[in-house]
Symmetry: D3
């Protein structure tokens, strides 16, 4: 039995609330149960320096947690002078995931910066962030299209993410903090609306896992991201 | 006429929403119009090292803005390696303001850390932060009292803050961004529930101001903080 | 009785010695009793990047203390990698105070950097710094006028500063360290030669202060800065 | 056809040279073709602070590249003040991979620090590093056993790593730089001597990949790490 | 002919003024012509952590230049986050030079921190600093002896320093900035009161120098430091 | 008797192995006994910004030690955020030494960056680095000449370096770590192929040294660098 009593293939309640930031071109407050992430997408006319003159745009992401998003207060990273290794890993992952579904040349020489700030953390913050960031990105691109800054459809597909894991020997979908901290294996999957895999990151925390287990985790992830994409579709209609 | 059409002594709509953070001992989302600050108060059993053995506690504050709280996206301070001078000034001000109404020995050798994260900024973020932080602090101390961690009443009074300024020659209450960026004089007042002045910071941005103007700004500030204290009272009942 | 036996409205002995730095365009060693600040004004042909093309100049200030300016040796800020919050606050205050009396467009696209290095600290270093910095700035602008780099009178007025406070219930002028560290309220006032208020910063260290007390502190400050401006006039004649 | 003319399931020539550092308890110079990594394992009697009193040890890793390991000279990270996000990711991966095959309580309260310094880089530096680091770690533990610092067998299994990818539509084993920089999908696998998966990290650089492709990449990886484990066995005999 | 018209073996006018800092245990303002260095010696009861329990003390030094000590204003090192390589070199040299004449066990487990802050720089700041620092150190130790904190004579000898160089083919003593910036060879010598060499640092800026030239520079340095030691003796009597 | 049993004027076995880095324009692995330094020379078409438009090139150097080059593991400098003072001193010395034998205008507006990474350290790493760096630099310039990037002979002479010291009262050549850590005096000499002195750095660790001792150390250094230059000549033929 999972700590949350959920069946092994059931996600937490997920909501996607658009338009939560007055000034951002796109924004979304995503909740996976008690995990809440505030996502904004900001259009910046300047592309990053290394991209200039190449005729294409860029999508980047930054991630942070409020100090008291967590059970115990966490020290702000600004006070240690730099983002932690964990923060770097997560924001690189979010950026890669979003770029996988964007036609970068169609953006022109512009950058969209997506900020994911965790207001409350109960496990799965990076996967919630990717899922909500897609909505913010969608609305930013819609804003650009409405103003004829871009034409065509620079956003090629949906992308959503979910964590799966092996908890007390059982493969389960969408781990909360209670499961995540005791799971034997933890894996994050980033999957597009058409079912293509963008990223898989599986780590054995305790004993190594088998090929069969990896395949079972992937099956759950496809189930979960399918539902998340349905919610994204409803949110942006 | 003010850009917002408000009379010179009228504040923006202010709301104080308690209990917005699941894990914090106290929390408050404060809104002064389009300025929104997410405040949490965290009890930490460890007092800061320089206080140990002195038989009293401490209240400290940290302040930050989400990158897209503002009209244009602002770079995260963690990426420049340190909090800016402005951030330092503001968080020191919030901390001093709260400590002015706390009986520090009554806390015992503990620290309460108040985090003020600006979700949206339309001027007056520091004064909104102080006003909301008081509610979070109140609830944190109530949590401690309910668990007999402290006894008596360590919170001695209310404290609230508001900005006033001289805009196009007229003294006005509670500046929004449109006024703040063009005001000749800008002043922040921190005032207790019993009307004592905890802090006054007045700065001439353009031409110097007179003693009469300072007194008129103080009159408006007392009016404004009086209303804010009333709202705090309603919020915590 | 004040620790220094001074009457409540008496400043320490103040001296302003010009021309103390061989290479700087303007310089002044200011002493408020045992507080000694070495001020230089440096003309820099490059304006700061954010100002370019705007047809006006800038005046900025930096502040630092020698490690053994104080009773106990203080660690150099360079060894902690960044200026402290206190340093940031003070140097921003000095810069704002000087800019309040300078006609920035008349400077042309140039910057004057004023450095205030505290050789010895006995309270009131920021107010002494502002008072001495004005003399260094005056001489730098005189140097520019003598070389026809600027014309007219870019320096519009005097500016001087003094701290006042409530010590053992009595409002007193020009606090030294012994008073400053035990005062109930501490306030810094920056006032021009024509009596306009540029900045007021009042802080209750213990119990809040009243409007009447604020007005009494302002009266003392006007008295003190009046005398400081007289000394500046004598110094630059 | 691969740029290197290798069949799709052929690794580069791999060598593992032990004892390359005079002072380290264990060391290995690992070469995967033109990728050369210098690995040392250092026994440190002090465990990290957060582990004290828990009766178990720790294995950690650090990774760096010499500036001219690469085709173009790369700036040293010490000059930008901190390890990059990429460096953080890699050294966390190496550490996790090694800890997966170590019985940490059997080490006692000690730390083994494994340093992986890339002398020359032609793709696959992190997988070469893990494979060579295991040899250095093995020799460090053997050194400890020879001195009765530990007893039993704290090293539970082999661990090796290899990168696979989809290059011009074909799944290939052990990418060199020419392939890595143009592959559609790049995946790193860390696998134990008994075939358990410790870590899988697959990323679509261009179009998303399918479940069938992931399974094919895993098949190649098992083939490759099987050979690497054989080489480790020969090296340490 | 030297730019300053001095004969090749003539130093600039040197003065050593004691007691320039009210709070420091020892202090000296040293002037070598237009090079002015403010030196303080601070007794700290805490020895550095790595020395604890070894029954001896330590003497350390820090060096800094005020921004406008130089012809053009120099950026403060605190703003680039760390002392420069040049600063590190100089402060290590000053510390080594002073320790060469101190009986460290006789100090007990205490540290004397010597701060050398350059108020004005016209070449030779490090040699002036060493010469003045000795006076500050002497007075600090005298202060300790007067309070019976140490007994005997922890200060074993004098130490002084001077720069020599080859300028337009001629060996000259005590280079000022005009010579220093065009000299072919620049050498700093640190020599004790009894004529022992503590440090020699000779650098060819242009063409390499010969053994004969090195010996001639050393002869001049002995002449110069002999005079400096005489001045130190007069200063501390 | 020296710890290594070498006669006082005998160097350790020295080898210079060229072409050790596949991508660098020049490279050399230099060994002075158990001190091993990996040197690469990298041609960079961009000169440093401060040199632009001056019609000459630059040679710079960076120095680092692998963490386990030493008997005990040393913390990486990247983790303390900046190169240490010692690293700064050494890399400035290597750069100055190389520039002393290069015709900088003949390079054109280009920079050669020489990296010296210590794989193993048994004393004398900076002198070994200079000696090996010359070979890497030579090969880089030969590479440039072969491609007609430069003409003539930008490399004017050889340069090599060795440490000498006074150990148990005896002047000895080429100190290893055992001697270096107990020597009374330690001196590094950088000398050209034609016997000119580029740099001398002598430091008394214990008691000061005399002029006669300095001359004896210089005699040994000339002997040693003469042999090193012979080895360089053999290496590059």
């Amino acid at each position: 039995m999972r700590p949350s009593k959920r069946p092994s293939d059931e996600m937490r309640k997920v909501t996607l609330e658009r338009g939560v930031a007055r000034y951002a071109e796109g924004s979304c407050l995503v909740k996976f149960g008690d995990t809440h992430v505030f996502c904004t997408a900001s259009l910046e006319e300047r592309a990053p320096p290394w991209l200039r003159g190449q005729g294409r745009g860029w999508v980047t992401a930054e991630y942070s947690m409020l100090p008291r998003a967590t059970l115990e207060r966490t020290r702000r990273e600004v006070n240690s002078g730099k983002p932690s290794g964990r923060t770097h890993e997560i924001q690189r992952l979010i950026g890669r995931s979003l770029r996988a579904v964007v036609d970068l040349p169609a953006l022109g020489e512009r950058q969209i910066s997506v900020d994911c700030d965790v207001l409350q953390a109960d496990g799965g913050t990076r996967t919630a962030a990717i899922t909500g960031a897609w909505v913010a990105l969608h609305d930013c691109i819609a804003w650009m299209k409405a103003r004829s800054i871009v034409s065509g459809q620079p956003l090629k597909d949906h992308v959503a993410a979910v964590s799966c894991g092996i908890h007390q020997g059982v493969a389960v979908l969408d781990l909360d903090y209670a499961e995540d901290s005791t799971a034997e294996t933890d894996a994050n999957f980033v999957i597009t609306g058409t079912g293509g895999i963008v990223e898989v990151q599986g780590t054995a925390e305790g004993k190594p896992f088998s090929e069969a287990e990896l395949i079972e985790l992937l099956r759950l992830a496809k189930l979960g991201t399918g539902k998340l994409v349905d919610l994204q579709k409803m949110a942006v209609t």
